[in-house]
Symmetry: C2
Subunit: 304 residues, 2 copies
């Protein structure tokens, strides 16, 4: 397992008894990311037994309350838990000022360092990268400045093809390091055994794209092309498609159209308007366009 | 019923699955007040079916997160619900700046008017008064500027003592208005019938005092003397009484001592530290000092 997504909240607008606003927990190649943080996120994390201390990076799509009002509470709780590690927050410009003011008036500065990466570009940009994962923004179109996020594993090194290696008595365990590093092996006869013969291809790197909130925006298709898993907001059904222009949200069908055109593997839809009680209708309408549709549900886990 | 208190959250520190931070809903003489508003309060209000629209006044004791991080979410939700009535917020200085900034960066100004009553006095003062209820601050001592709140019903008018009135044939239904207004009646014989004979005393006005967070502070006793119901924080048991000085909280015993010395009728304790799992211990220790002790529990209703 290298990619595991837990839905902590997937409803639009405001928290209700069993309907939490947007938040997701993403485990990808040994990283632990929080995506959006609506009010009640820390309660949901407790409920689904997610370790607070493992999270070092939080990605906030936009500064509407249902996507970030839980952030200050989570930051404060980490302080009460005596966190020492730094915490990185990637969010639209403004997040630092408001967070700092909240900490100031509550006289509760954190002892750990908060590192704000304020976003303002209208182009897709790499905002995090190490040897395991790269994270890029997906510029979206909503009523305020908004980004989705594309999380992609780095390609893993090729693995030793032990069965093939064993065919050559001359290749010693001491050579394994060089083989792993991609080198060919030259036998005493002068024969060159290519690295490709001695190694296996690594599994294809996994990718996850989070796109919420946004109106239908085909511009994102080249950025999210062929991802394994796409979460795309679907606030409305066709019956209220008229509202998408004013509110800058999408319908289930529009989410599915993006999924189809981007040739992605699995689609998750969520951010349902509270006017709907029968969520199956979202799946039905999306499946008219694209088959591999999943409904986001609080607590649901998607594994690739 | 003229006073009804619903506990929405009564735990200290941070929200957990079944442990919400401080918030209370007080119905007193047809007023509907919210007292403190920790993260998750609006969810709790939904759970206990409390009408959002009835609340016109919110009282915030102090600006620690577990007492106000749910306020911005509640304010935003009222906006989404198309509220038009003004909303009054009584809270320490700073609340206006932080709330305004949060609304500004989320580009979600409310269409209804927010009226901030910022508190900074170290003396008890009347902060709300109409013909039904008066609310005064109770200056507390905590790590930041903090007030408790004393809610007292106004005395109701005397009621007609119909049985006594009927003894006088001469007293007509037209006189009732004057009797209710407190006037004596002069009969045609010249005999004066005193108003006290023709009316019944109204029920004693009810009062509720909310005191959280605070260290043991006997100064508050004259302010809360003989209230019907007192909520006093009890963060610690005797085993960690050593922590009260540094954290400026109280023990269950100290809360009970205040209740006893103020000669109040019923005490509720809460704001339990998360280190304790057996809350009955709080009641036991408090009852060594004062008998009428109730444990705050999420969803519990106290009626006078």
């Amino acid at each position: 397992m290298s990619l595991r997504l837990t839905i902590l909240g997937c409803h639009s607008a405001t928290p209700r008894v069993n309907a939490y606003p947007t938040s997701q927990y993403l485990e990808i190649n040994n990283h632990h990311f929080l995506i959006d943080c609506g009010e009640g996120t820390q309660r949901q994390m407790r409920k689904y037994k997610i370790s607070f201390s493992k999270i070092n990076h939080i990605f906030i799509s936009h500064l509407h309350g249902d996507h970030f009002f839980g952030l200050i509470g989570f930051i404060s709780t980490l302080g009460l838990l005596n966190r020492e590690k730094e915490l990185h927050i990637y969010a639209p410009k403004g997040i630092k000022e408001v967070t700092t003011l909240q900490l100031k008036i509550s006289n509760s500065w954190t002892k750990y360092q908060l590192i704000f990466h304020e976003l303002s570009s209208s182009e897709s940009e790499t905002i995090f990268e190490d040897d395991k994962v790269v994270v890029k923004t997906i510029p979206l179109t909503h009523r305020v400045y908004t980004n989705g996020f594309l999380f992609t594993e780095k390609e893993k090194p090729r693995k030793l093809h032990i069965k093939n290696i064993k065919q050559y008595d001359e290749i010693d365990i001491c050579d394994y390091h060089n083989i792993k590093a991609g080198k060919d092996i030259i036998l005493s006869t002068g024969e060159v055994i290519s690295n490709e013969k001695l190694t296996l291809s690594p599994p294809k790197p996994k990718s996850y794209a989070f796109c919420s909130d946004t109106q239908y925006k085909p511009d994102i298709i080249p950025i999210i092309k062929k991802v394994d898993l796409l979460y795309h907001e679907a606030t409305f059904l066709e019956d209220r498609a008229d509202l998408t222009k004013k509110t800058k949200h999408s319908t289930a069908k529009q989410a599915a159209q993006i999924a189809k055109d981007a040739e992605i593997s699995q689609l998750i839809i969520g951010h349902y308007s509270s006017r709907y009680s029968n969520l199956l209708k979202f799946k039905e309408e999306a499946q008219e366009i694209f088959d591999a549709v999943n409904l986001a549900e609080t607590g649901k886990v998607f594994t690739i």
